[in-house]
Subunit: 374 residues, 4 copies
């Protein structure tokens, strides 16, 4: 299903080397100010170019095709498209018969009976995260306006994701090494500088690195989510695992909780002054990541997403070919055979450098729908 959400509903379309990629968003509140300029900041965070990211650069200008009139959302489906302009397809011709390890070349071929668009990964390309980021911009506006409205401006919604570990080196360690302290900007460029030693070393080997992204959403009311089946964790994890390259998702203490005792993992309750008056609230300890029984408890929602290392590497890897190979003696061979593949082109050493804004977008899309249902 290419659609996610019950009320705030997001549908994606497009292929890496087709005419365009885009998104249709249904259920957007009418009256939200929106123009192309609103997308610039988040799109810049996703754009490639930092050390460790691929130099393919496209202007990535959002084209609003429906749902906006006189600078405001209309309430009708909102369509945002991005033209594909920098497409060199020749490189990818061989991937149908010789699938790249770690990519969807093989599974897409099986799923679609060989009719999928193989150029640049087609519909499986990371380029589909471009309309995801655009939908995230809209969702963030919906969240900010709804939270402000429902709390008469007393509470501000915030959402922030950043890399907390790359190539096995934590942000704290990288910051200590760089002497930047926790003030680093968290942009792909700043992060690439923080982890420059790891990135340089992996790039020199023709290899790649993974990373862990942490995301924190604050300002949402308690009471969102459902016990079955749409717990807040279920919905957020559903969205996160739709991002190409994600291997794990955890909330609050996450996998570490499995090694803790109940007395250490439970968040005791406190009383706190809120804008609703003195309220019983979970304590600031927040081992639960802001969620009990699948329902938000008013604490910040905290989760982490594990990204695998970039699959495309220069270093040769074994793969198999369905083409008929020519034997060394010049005779024909009738069976397909194993081969080695060095993925051509220039690739992200660590595509996760560009992932935080995508994680934010997916979180915003999910949370906007949750808030709309509540």
């Amino acid at each position: 299903m290419n659609t996610f959400g019950r009320i705030f509903r997001v549908s994606l379309y497009g292929e890496s080397h087709g005419p365009e990629v885009g998104v249709v968003i249904d259920g957007v509140e009418p009256g939200i100010a929106l123009s192309e300029a609103d997308f610039a900041a988040d799109l810049a965070r996703r754009r490639s170019g930092a050390k460790g990211t691929t130099p393919r650069r496209e202007p990535d200008l959002p084209l609003i095709r429906s749902g906006v009139f006189e600078g405001h959302t209309t309430g009708a489906p909102l369509t945002i498209a991005f033209a594909n302009t920098n497409t060199h397809s020749a490189d990818y011709a061989l991937f149908r018969s010789t699938p790249r390890p770690g990519h969807a070349d093989y599974t897409a071929d099986v799923k679609y009976g060989g009719f999928n668009d193989p150029r640049g990964g087609g519909h499986f390309s990371g380029r589909l995260t471009l309309p995801v980021v655009a939908a995230g911009v809209v969702a963030k506006k919906v969240l900010a306006e709804t939270v402000a409205e429902e709390t008469s401006g007393h509470v501000a919604f915030s959402l922030a994701a950043r890399i907390v570990e790359l190539g096995g080196v934590s942000r704290a360690a990288a910051e200590a090494r760089a002497g930047t302290g926790p003030a680093s900007a968290g942009t792909p460029e700043a992060d690439a500088a923080l982890w420059a030693p790891e990135l340089s070393s992996a790039a020199a080997e023709g290899d790649s690195l993974g990373a862990v992204v942490e995301c924190i959403a604050d300002g949402l009311p308690a009471g969102l989510g459902e016990p079955f089946w749409d717990s807040v964790e279920s919905l957020l994890a559903h969205a996160m695992f739709a991002i190409p390259g994600v291997r794990g998702v955890e909330f609050g203490d996450g996998f570490a909780a499995a090694r803790m005792k109940g007395s250490a993992h439970n968040d005791p309750f406190d009383l706190a002054e809120t804008h609703h008056g003195l309220r019983l609230t979970p304590s600031a300890s927040n081992h639960a990541g802001g969620i009990n029984g699948g329902i938000t408890n008013g604490n910040p929602i905290v989760f982490r997403v594990a990204f695998k290392p970039t699959s495309s590497i220069r270093k040769p890897q074994r793969t198999a070919s369905l083409e008929v190979p020519v034997a060394a003696d010049g005779g024909g061979a009738s069976a397909p055979g194993l081969t080695e593949l060095s993925v051509p082109g220039r690739h992200d050493t660590c595509f996760a450098l560009r992932a935080p804004v995508i994680v934010e977008a997916m979180a915003a899309i999910t949370l906007a729908d949750l808030l709309d249902i509540a």
Copy 2:
């Protein structure tokens, strides 16, 4: 939304101390042999009683209310209910005003405006996993029959979950310590014996433990799942995070993948004799957990689920009370106050001992729907 799935659709209902808990399953293939006896084995694996689990024991006999005629599924909605017979509600009266840390008492109260059934956790109770296990039994039958039919009996579907770590001690270490070797049965009783030292120690302290469950599904064809939004990981994680107490889900190498290099994490391709003939397949290394680009690749699907320690503990925890406390001097106090709570009753020291069959059930429900859509 209390329903999960597009074709094989599962709806849950019931409260811990209401008349019953149950499940309605829509989209079940007609003609599958099904009787109450088919549920016995899986229900036994979920039943409490092992060391480290709560002694509440109910007969848990499934009542088939619709969808079965002359011993076979009819294709119409299949309803299975379990009467609640062993309900002592008195213990739970105070949890509305004094919510238990780690539980949904507080969030349920907020979400439902104080109208939720608080007895035994109500609709948030782990007792809801009873109809989940029942639905899992049906889903496993659907999977087994469909895979057998589609492969003319050449391939058998298999699904198995077991605890791989409890209280921070790996299964391998526990088995080595116990001298059982990898032949241990994997029942709650056998597992409770394996990790007896950790369970005894925690129980003595009035505390609790968490665990990690690993699940492996084998025999499914390549090509299941969708790039957006219903990747196989998205759907499985959605279901897993609906199980009470889950904190993390990871596939294949999982979070460890974030610390690997691409050359180590990518699964190279092989050629293999399958029942379809010589085929290009991912290698047995299976770092990806059987999924590329959100689509099954034909390898076993492998994932792990982190369970938090049981929230209910005898050890006193701080919580807050919305009741008006009486001051020491006998005068009334107008503000609610903090208090300490020792959760009464007898509880699972590690409820995850009973979780493997629930993880299997959730996986089966998810995979049956995926297979039906394909």
Copy 3:
């Protein structure tokens, strides 16, 4: 799909001669007062016994299985079941091989590969409208409370369906004939008296009659519904055509609109004092049935539903038998043959006498969901 609705979601289960029929309703607002007694009035309107209806009478006591605590809805799934107590299955044994004209015997057999429960029509039985009526009672309460709350009590929601034509005789003509005037109660008993001549005549012939039901919903705000695909007409018609035996649905002027000119069919706009102040409103002419462009305009929603004559008739009808017939000379015949069937048992001469409360229930279910989404 056995579920209808996005927020207020209704799932049906059960077979006519199985243990029970029932409904699970998800998304019910918490805090609505609800007890078994609330269902009595509507269930009585559906109950058989009037002249022209079948004498099968069951107590039809609703069993609330989940979702109610201390007399109020909890917000968790609400389950209501009705035991099947008066089931004589022997009559129905032959319908699998000799399908009844007009019934689902044949199509159910094809759809479910012969595994459907054929007794009393199984899941296709009109008995499934019993839980529909129960869900309607809940939906009516949700509508009444929501409208009252949103208008601070200034507006009352109302919903009423009644037969406007039976056996080709309009209510006005029948009332004139009976001298009752428009004050007739609209119960199955009163309606059976109004159309007694037609019912008696058809019953004497062993034949059956159809009818048209009109339904009017008033008090809903303007602005409900969506242009694509969930127009108010689309959703109401979706629900109406799920009632067994419905052949047509029309809104406002309906099919007559196709014979009108625009100047006669368009509703001019008026200005009216509403509880929101002086407002532009559509005029009282209401040719559109309260809906423009798929969206409610604030006028009463008006639609009509055509019910076919009861399919089960005593009068012999031609059907075919898949059983091997015995030829007149006593020899075996190898091919199936045509036969005549007089449907045994006692049946409604006009089941539509019991339909108004079902139409209301379906309308309430649909409108409650629309109001919840808005």
Copy 4:
């Protein structure tokens, strides 16, 4: 919700005077030959220009934006857009304050809080039926290929809609009058000629006409559809009532069934040679319109759709204005007032002339999804 379908899923977007209108179709089988030329015939049937239709003519060239590679569908979401090139918005400026009777101007304004795009009806425009027709072309191909494949080419799927009544004059009467006989082409041009007297007369009065469209789908297997809630009638009616201007939908005998006796309305069963061998089938009488109990019975599916007369008419109609009117004596008036509106521009005298291909498209979209689920 702007999406329809469970497997074959269609999402619409766009406004009449925005940049474009379009459709995203998810769940299209891979490998279906598709090019822009495939849309020409159906788009021509929808195009305006015949007597009785508006002269707004746009090239209406489909732009395939995703989901097609090397001339075949890929299985990924298929996007088809149509640029809006002939947009004169000035005419529509006054409709926000002075809503056109019969249009969605008022309801859209209420629903979207005044933020809807009012130009040309915005998202409510009949122009949205353009991508509907495009989606119908794809659905027809899916149906034709699936039916051919499942019956090894023995059965051909067919789908045909045509006007059976216009301005109160039946096709038979119009054909008799014109002397064309039943061989008339059924194009908008041919139909405009058939009903020329009615159209000319209404146009001369500045008025408009409605019509009834009948649609027949043949070649589908028995067994499609579900008892609750997705009967074949429910799904088809849901789609039909999403077409702007539809007032009624009926199947088989439709509303006439309410005036028939059971012995006349029931379809007896026959035995027939089919490509599956001698089979029990419903007779050719087909009073049920090919559906029993919500499930297809193998007979042609037959239904009729009532279209209201065009809402936009030159003849002055009463409406109300929210603008402050100026009193005759030159003083200001503080209250809004009633006014008369002659809708400017040139409009279809009978927009239903262009409706048959839209009805076919909606039917094809619905049936393709039904066939995919089965």
